[in-house]
């Protein structure tokens, strides 16, 4: 971890862009301060030697699952009713009833 450098305002803007977030001019320095404080706390992890320790994505893999004929924990691949389109589209901000409508995708 690169404790020595820290997160710059430029980093905050770059990460915000990656995350599709638009930060205001007031939010940027506050986020920079908070990220540096949190990352400073997280830097404690460097005290640990984790050479050769397996990475754990979730606990199931350490417990071992029940063996199945058709693969781990998966449901049968069979046709079943989906949600009703009218009900789903009722929640959409903009729709023609069949599709979600959005502003134009190609700029220029």
């Amino acid at each position: 971890m690169r404790e020595e450098t820290g997160v710059s305002l430029e980093d905050v803007r770059r990460v915000a862009e990656l995350a599709n977030l638009e930060l205001t001019a007031e939010e940027e320095p506050r986020m920079q301060r908070d990220l540096n404080a949190i990352l400073g706390h997280i830097a404690q992890l460097n005290e640990l030697d984790t050479e050769g320790v397996p990475a754990m994505a979730q606990v199931g893999e350490m417990l071992g699952g029940v063996a199945h004929d058709r693969g781990e924990m998966l449901r049968l691949d069979e046709v079943r009713p989906s949600l009703d389109r009218v009900q789903v589209m009722a929640s959409a901000p903009d729709t023609d009833g069949r599709f979600f409508k959005v502003p134009k995708v190609i700029e220029r």
Binding site: R2, N20, L21, I42, G60, M62, V66, S91, V102
Partner: protein, 485 residues
């Protein structure tokens, strides 16, 4: 009808079922009594975000008809239940405490909602929480904070603050919450109710708005341990709609409570009693341990040596997963859309800027940073490795003891605004809860007395993976010894 407000205050699930079955009261009357109480008193607590009156009264009417016909009533017949607003209830608003989901009404039920209703529960409405379940005080809700019913100048804890407060204020007999890093156990401790974190995979998450998928769990809040066992029994089990749910058989949790705790080995992890633990909480835990010894448990010290790394590990992994899960909120399919945007990418950014609160943005940024090119190995992979070490700590401890007993929180409920300026300070609230979350084990917070100022104290009992039965047995022994004091 005969049930008065006073009686609501100690109403257990068994009492409800028996009263409805015998005709002493009706499910419809009970639901109305709860709605009356909510209308009268929730204005100052702010626990409910939406009421589902039509659905509740329809189910209550069915239960009353079953009772009149003399049918055997299911486990939760007529029990008024509230649901945290991160879980889908068909046709009811589901905001997750966020502006970005304002107006969204999911067209389906979460599996736990279906299971509760099938078991006879009367679903009163949706409960306030920190935005996307991110927070330890309920101050991050876009719909205003929840206040602690036991002390109105204090937070109820978070993120399931509404779920804990609603049980504490008798606005429901039981509620559902979710716990990613402590969000059931901590508010249960702050509000003086029972809150259960089931083992990862024990309860279906279909219909849960995801925060961190390797950590999120659904569990009950109740007024006593037996009620918690009853609700857990109903909601536990394999669900074909959730591939992470386990198909291990579900134990008889209620039955487990009648077994004695004599001879059970109780571990006390020394790392949970260090600097920063409030002396009154420490004394209360010592009292609970003394009660367990009297009941015949063998109490012995154990070590979970990596405990201090749990918070930094959690805040890397949970935020990384959140940054991915929350990318779906973009204004296209549901909820809020920023209207002034000219292009699609502008619409994404403006919608998310207006729709997300500061804490959610902070976590998305942190998670995105931890996953971004050049930092993945240093943060995300490193944290995943430490997660293995933390889990091994628990597996080693559980080879020597049957359960672990520890505090839930370092302090009792704090004042509103006390920690909102300093995210690290707020995150340290989770110091005794996140390790169990990362390891996937089960845990429960049980009321264990009060401070001199009258603030509730909770004791945490943690159990082996899928051994909720033993955990609840010990929790009940703590509860019994409290009553006898």
């Amino acid at each position: 009808m005969s049930l008065k407000d006073l009686e609501i205050e100690s109403l257990s699930i068994d009492a409800v079922r028996q009263a409805v079955a015998s005709g002493e009261t009706k499910a419809t009357v009970l639901a109305e009594l709860h709605y009356d109480r909510i209308a009268r008193e929730d204005g100052k607590i702010n626990s409910y975000l939406a009421l589902s009156r039509d659905r509740a009264m329809a189910r209550a009417t069915q239960i009353d008809e079953m009772a009149v016909r003399g049918e055997t009533l299911p486990a939760l017949a007529g029990v008024p239940v509230g649901i945290k607003d991160v879980l889908a209830m068909r046709g009811a608003p589901a905001t997750a405490g966020s502006l970005i989901l304002k107006g969204y009404r999911p067209p389906y039920d979460a599996t736990v909602v279906t299971k509760l209703e099938t078991a006879g529960a009367v679903l009163l409405g949706k409960l306030n929480c920190d935005e996307f379940a991110m927070g330890s005080s309920n101050e991050n809700s876009a719909y205003g904070p929840v206040l602690n019913p036991k002390a109105l100048d204090r937070v109820p804890g978070g993120s399931s603050g509404g779920s804990a407060a609603a049980v504490a204020a008798d606005f429901a007999v039981a509620t559902l919450g979710t716990d990613t890093g402590g969000s059931i156990r901590q508010p249960a401790a702050f509000c003086g109710v029972v809150g259960v974190l089931p083992t990862y995979g024990r309860v279906s998450r279909y219909g849960l708005i995801a925060f961190a998928s390797s950590l999120d769990r659904v569990g009950p809040f109740t007024k006593n341990v037996k009620d918690a066992a009853t609700v857990l029994q109903v909601i536990a089990g394999k669900d074909v709609m959730d591939a992470t749910s386990s198909d291990r058989p579900v134990d008889d949790y209620v039955g487990a409570l009648s077994k004695p705790v004599e001879g059970l080995r109780v571990g006390v992890p020394e790392e949970y009693f260090g600097e920063g633990l409030d002396p009154e909480i420490r004394a209360a835990i010592d009292g609970a341990l003394a009660g367990l010894k009297t009941a015949g448990c063998v109490v012995k010290p154990v070590s979970l040596p990596h405990t201090k790394y749990a918070i930094p590990t959690y805040y890397v992994l949970a935020t990384a997963e959140a940054s991915s899960n929350l990318s779906r909120f973009d204004g296209v399919r549901f909820g809020l859309r920023a209207e002034e945007a000219k292009t699609l990418s502008e619409m994404f950014r403006k919608t998310r800027d207006v729709g997300f609160g500061a804490e959610v943005k902070r976590r998305i940024l942190l998670g995105t940073y931890a996953l971004s090119a050049g930092y993945y190995d240093a943060y995300y992979r490193k944290a995943q490795q430490v997660r293995t070490l933390l889990t091994r700590d628990f597996l080693a401890a559980f080879s020597e003891v049957d359960v672990l007993v520890a505090p839930v929180t370092p302090t009792p409920a704090f004042k509103l605004g006390e920690k909102t300026d300093d995210p690290v300070k707020m995150y340290l609230e989770d110091i005794y809860s996140v390790a169990a979350s990362l390891a996937g084990i089960c845990g429960v917070s049980v009321p264990c007395g009060e401070t001199r100022d009258g603030l509730p104290i909770g004791v945490q009992v943690m159990g082996r993976h899928f051994d909720e039965g033993t955990m609840l047995r010990v929790a009940q022994a703590v509860e019994t010894s409290q009553r006898e004091q």
